[in-house]
């Protein structure tokens, strides 16, 4: 008998690398840039950047915050890192000391601030609003730009609202807006419109630079067809205890599950403190690899901070120390997200922030 207490997060770097290369091929006329914000969607920006820099010659990266760019800039002197949230008083010093960082300027006011603190010759990127109504210059702000202002920029970019819905009217609408803005204000700039989802919408969306994020991490950003990406994330947690429920017994906080008959349950050492969405209470699934193949068990009762409880009555073979698989290639984070009522991006970001997991990078 083996007993384990800690969950394991496996990150398959080979698959991640393959995904990056496939996406690069699909957008072969565009420069690829790797999106590693939010600690590479939680999977570890350091490991992902090392991989892509050394094994795929990646030199362009996108992060959200300047503090996320700093370790990349310090390690790789010929990398260029675009910072999507731009610049403010709380990040000015990082930008001033690290010429590889490029702020993505999203508003007229931010541009004024940048011009006040940047050294001559430093370039920025400009985000323009085309329909998402998030960060980005609106038309009235673009009209105010002088030709000197326009010289501040090396890249013009925007972001799609509905790129994961192939036929959504917003895609063409945003593309048209983007083309108009480019033509009118930035005819010579490098242009970027597509993140992972936009890559699959064709060459017109790929423009000059594509920002490869979610799909690289294995998320299906083109859910209107089967996932072309390989799975990157596996989450598993050990069975700490197995016991029997009598008919009528309750399980978990607030007694939300009651056994309609005799059940066998497994207590698994992972919970929402580890990033398992609490919305999987009484809904989520785990899987066990047995002699019969992959067998499914249901999460019963509330997900708690450190544990979930699973109904393993119908699992043919189970013992303490067995591994409950919460996500893997046969039930991906996309599948888990569907059950949890959210998107895999959110779950990945949470799981990856875990410091109690044992984290294994497969290479």
């Amino acid at each position: 008998m083996s007993i384990f207490t800690r969950a394991i997060l496996e990150i398959n770097l080979n698959n991640l690398l393959d995904n990056y290369n496939v996406l690069k091929d699909i957008a072969k006329d565009a420069v690829p840039a790797a999106v590693v914000k939010d600690d590479a969607y939680g999977l570890g920006a350091e490991a992902v950047v090392d991989l892509l820099y050394n094994r795929a010659e990646a030199r362009y990266f996108f992060v959200a915050h300047a503090i996320e760019a700093l370790p990349i800039a310090q390690k790789y002197k010929d990398a260029k890192i675009f910072v999507l949230q731009g610049i403010g008083e709380d990040s000015a010093e990082i930008f001033q000391n690290n010429p590889q960082l490029v702020p993505v300027i999203g508003s007229w006011d931010m541009l004024q601030y940048w011009k006040g603190i940047r050294k001559v010759g430093r370039k920025a990127a400009i985000q323009v609003e085309t329909g998402l109504n998030r960060l980005g210059f609106r038309m009235n702000e673009l009209d105010k730009l002088s030709s000197d202002d326009k010289d501040e920029f090396e890249l013009v970019m925007s972001h799609l609202a509905c790129g994961d819905e192939k036929d959504h009217f917003m895609n063409e609408h945003q593309l048209k807006n983007f083309e108009n803005i480019k033509r009118k204000y930035f005819p010579k700039l490098t242009a970027s419109l597509a993140a992972s989802d936009g890559v699959f919408l064709g060459q017109s969306f790929q423009q000059n630079m594509v920002r490869l994020g979610a799909a690289m991490y294995g998320i299906n950003t083109a859910p209107y067809r089967p996932n072309q990406m390989k799975n990157v994330v596996t989450v598993k947690a050990p069975v700490l205890q197995i016991s029997d429920l009598a008919k009528g017994e309750f399980v978990g906080y607030s007694a939300t599950y009651r056994a309609a008959g005799k059940r066998k349950i497994a207590i698994v050492s992972i919970g929402y403190g580890d990033g398992v969405p609490r919305s999987l209470s009484n809904v989520g699934k785990v899987f066990f690899k047995t002699a019969k193949g992959v067998e499914e068990a249901r999460i019963i009762g509330r997900v708690s901070m450190d544990n979930i409880i699973c109904d393993v009555t119908n699992v043919s073979q189970i013992a303490i120390g067995d591994w409950a698989i919460l996500a893997g290639d046969f039930y991906t984070l996309d599948d888990m997200a569907r059950d949890a009522g959210t998107i895999s991006y959110e779950i990945m970001s949470r799981l990856g922030k875990n410091r109690r997991f044992e984290r294994k990078y497969l290479e």
Copy 2:
């Protein structure tokens, strides 16, 4: 004009200390122990342990995993740390090298493992099952214990399923089970049944040791009456951009919000990557402190990884660089959790894992 890009998590250690002391007073005949698992519910175990050890003479702590106990054991040699997930092959060495760690043994099998590796004289705690049906010895396992086995333990504990519902039948049911088990198997052991919620259920539930967690962090664990605890967590994020929406315009991913008329929106630099539940999309609220007092604005469209978008049409005064307050004393994490369809424990745990936030401890 000021521009900021990073959100701020403020943790009021004075209030946390006050809460601990209030709880200690309520359970004045029991020994207090501080629950600092999951990095002190995300708020930073190091800061919380330092505070409670030095300013409240706390010497007993509970964590979930041995790796969480290690830094406490190394820093405070007279602290005793109970490890709720118990011991396994992946944590045995930590237990062997750190005599201050006490595994909470939850099953017969785990007891055998512990006996095989522990040095003579080391004591454990035993978790017994009284109705939660999570980790813990069941009756058939208790019956197998020899008197030598029983000598392995210094503490017997269990955990309430419905302690936050004052009149739930499970409370008396579990208390009765616990008393029976104590009487029959462990008449002389120190006993612990109550976590924060159980403390409010009266002396019979408080037993010899209370485990103070959620309430100490400001969560209302007695929601059948107004919160007696002080607020500990404030979350705020800067407005990065303000712009206008025309009638018919869409906002955010999947275009889930459409303006029924002209609106003014603020883009705020925080998202689910920072721990804001994505389930607050089109539902959540933020607040601005203006000359008129605290004014409310609604999150519109989807919460994205790095940003939320708020309808500030009716906020009397707003500028770039203003702080949108997502949680604070007038709208606590409990309130946010209600809007997000979950519990504040989950949100706190997520927010606290953020590494992009500026984290401020107020003392």
